[in-house]
């Protein structure tokens, strides 16, 4: 297959023949006449594996109200929301806009680290008052691998003060602020002391893989793993030529790198903090696997498959994994080994948005009580962050832009940007409009 064959295959597959959409400029005028907020989302903020559930929760643009309730025209897009309890949590709006709350999702304090013009490589929440960030020079916003100086930033007082760690040099595919493009690096702390940094981009095209580790809270980093782009990997290294989708640690010593090697499963484990790796048996030999998320030191879940994606769970800290029923929603959110949630729709011709739940670790899924939301709750594309079987949040990730319409078609209604909260396991939802304070 040469370049012309690729060209022919792509044209035959994607080139439209009379199916191109049309635009209705009158709709643009209506759209332009309305004040709109830019919505930004990220899917690639690191998959977190702290000892509490740590599911990155998409993005919603919160209208920002000034201190003491004074209104402001600006907005804050939340790229990542993680609550450690009903009142305590972190959110990130891109760049230096780190936000912290001790009073629930209704009010946030913006606590920016002094990163200047640097771009963010990764952010992770190491505890209710602890956050970690890696930044790279602004010039690294390129899609090519180069060696960059990465600077660590650390706070353990809820962002009141930030400490700059020892910069280190690393080969990165890109150090990109996800407000301006996707990021691919994983930054993963299991506690405020132990963390790992993994650039998982290059390996997908045969580049080298690097893993760095810190054992002092992020002040200093050292390389613990290097797999070359080609040739033979050293004994105990990750395999060459695989697509690594991500990395998760469950303890200071044990973690996994997951993905696929061609059509084979990539599921390598380390028990020495990332220094040596070995394949681990997994109940699917040709699955592409996304990194697991742990809701406790023993209970973890991961999604993967060889076509349809499925749910796999562990209840023994990752030693063994078992396939479960396919989750009815896009990405289930587990709060412990038994209780999980997923937003989806009923399968009939007039679908309703349903909150699905499981209380047996994903073996069976059913509708939550009053599970049909009927517009009084998050839409099906929202992402969930539950901290207990009853308390959780959902952020709307609906873009709102009108789909292309044929003449005579009616435009879809555009839901507003939304943050919803439930305290009764999703039976009822309350819309939250947060306010913001700047710390400096």
């Amino acid at each position: 297959m040469d370049d012309d064959d690729i060209r022919q295959a792509l044209h035959a597959t994607y080139s439209s023949s009379g199916t191109e959409p049309t635009v209705t400029r009158d709709l643009f005028k209506q759209q332009a006449a309305k004040p709109r907020h830019r919505r930004v989302v990220t899917s690639l903020v690191a998959v977190v594996a702290t000892l509490v559930v740590a599911v990155p929760v998409g993005v919603v643009v919160f209208p920002r109200t000034g201190v003491n309730g004074s209104s402001s025209a600006s907005t804050t897009p939340v790229l990542d929301l993680h609550m450690f309890g009903a009142n305590d949590g972190w959110a990130w709006a891109g760049g230096d806009e780190i936000m912290h709350t001790t009073s629930g999702v209704g009010h946030w304090t913006i606590v920016p680290p002094p990163i200047g013009s640097q771009v963010v490589v990764g952010v992770d929440w190491a505890g209710a008052d602890s956050a970690r960030m890696l930044t790279a020079p602004g010039a690294s916003e390129n899609e090519l691998e180069q060696t960059y100086t990465v600077t660590p930033w650390i706070t353990d007082d809820a962002g009141a003060t930030w400490t700059e760690g020892q910069p280190f040099r690393v080969l990165l595919e890109a150090g990109a602020d996800p407000t301006n493009g996707p990021i691919y690096a994983d930054l993963d702390f299991v506690d405020p002391t132990h963390g790992w940094f993994f650039d998982n981009q290059i390996v997908s095209v045969g580049g080298p893989t690097f893993i760095y580790r810190t054992v002092d809270g992020g002040l200093h980093w050292s390389q613990v793993e290097m797999t070359p782009a080609s040739g033979k990997a050293a004994r105990g290294s990750l395999p060459v030529g695989c697509s690594a989708y991500g990395m998760t640690f469950v303890s200071p010593t044990t973690g996994w790198v997951t993905g696929s090697c061609g059509l084979a499963t990539l599921f390598d484990v380390t028990h020495d903090g990332g220094a040596t790796w070995a394949p681990q048996a997994f109940p699917c030999i040709n699955c592409a696997l996304y990194p697991p998320q742990f809701s406790s030191p023993l209970d973890g879940q991961l999604m993967g498959g060889s076509g349809e994606s499925g749910l796999f769970v562990t209840t023994d800290g990752g030693r063994t994994w078992n396939a479960r029923a396919g989750a009815p929603g896009v990405w289930p959110d587990f709060v412990d080994g038994e209780h999980g949630f997923a937003l989806g729709v009923t399968g009939n011709d007039n679908p309703s948005i349903i909150l699905w739940t499981t209380s047996d670790g994903g073996m069976h899924w059913g509708e939550a009580p009053d599970g049909a939301l009927h517009g009084n709750g998050p839409d099906e594309e929202s992402q969930l962050d539950f901290i207990s079987p009853r308390i959780g949040w959902a952020v709307s990730v609906w873009f709102g832009n009108q789909p292309l319409l044929s003449p005579g078609q009616t435009p879809y209604p555009t839901p507003p940007d939304e943050l919803w909260q439930t305290t009764d396991a999703g039976s009822t939802w309350t819309l939250v409009t947060p306010t913001f304070t700047t710390s400096q």
Binding site: S16, P21, P35, L44, V205, G206
Partner: protein, 171 residues
């Protein structure tokens, strides 16, 4: 964060949009399909890109570069959709709607499946070079990277594409 400027185009700008951008909607849709998980996501991306192009048509200084300018917006919109769709499920074959192509259904599905297995940046480069038939210079302009980088990315993306197609074919 500030909103993007919500401003209605005047009559001249509307005419420019109609003349310079609308002829490329078909290309943009094909391109967005190559980058997106499904047809619906591609429609969203193109619609959003068209809206932004309509708003910003005044910023297009060189009429001759309208196609590249519009495809740049489409790339950015697709990246925004990628960031929105976090889950593995949204990036699989579910929801892909076949259109009418000369290839067999099996082969079309193979191509779609292989494209989805590629790194997203590789999808972009491959699609610009071989689906949009852009030169390396034009592709470099759209992506804001060096020509040499486009060449390198194209080579490795094409290598990966062939490799995966070989797997699909059971080679």
């Amino acid at each position: 964060m500030t909103d993007y400027v919500a401003r209605a185009a005047d009559a001249d700008e509307e005419a420019r949009f109609e003349r310079l951008i609308e002829p490329h909607l078909g290309d943009a849709f094909a391109f967005a399909q190559a980058l997106s998980a499904d047809r619906s996501a591609a429609q969203d991306a193109v619609q959003s890109a068209a809206f932004k192009a309509w708003q910003r048509i005044r910023q297009l200084r060189d009429d001759g570069s309208a196609r590249a300018w519009f495809l740049t917006i489409v790339v950015n919109e697709c990246k925004t959709v990628w960031r929105k769709r976090t889950a593995v499920a949204s990036d699989n074959d579910a929801g892909a709607e076949p259109i009418s192509w000369p290839l067999s259904i099996d082969q079309r599905l193979d191509v779609r499946s292989v494209m989805r297995q590629l790194k997203r940046d590789d999808r972009v480069v491959l699609s610009l070079r071989f689906l949009m038939d852009m030169s390396v210079e034009e592709t470099a302009g759209v992506l804001g990277i060096l020509v040499s980088a486009v060449k390198a990315c194209t080579a490795r993306a094409a290598f990966r594409f062939r490799q995966l197609m070989g797997h699909q074919a059971g080679e």
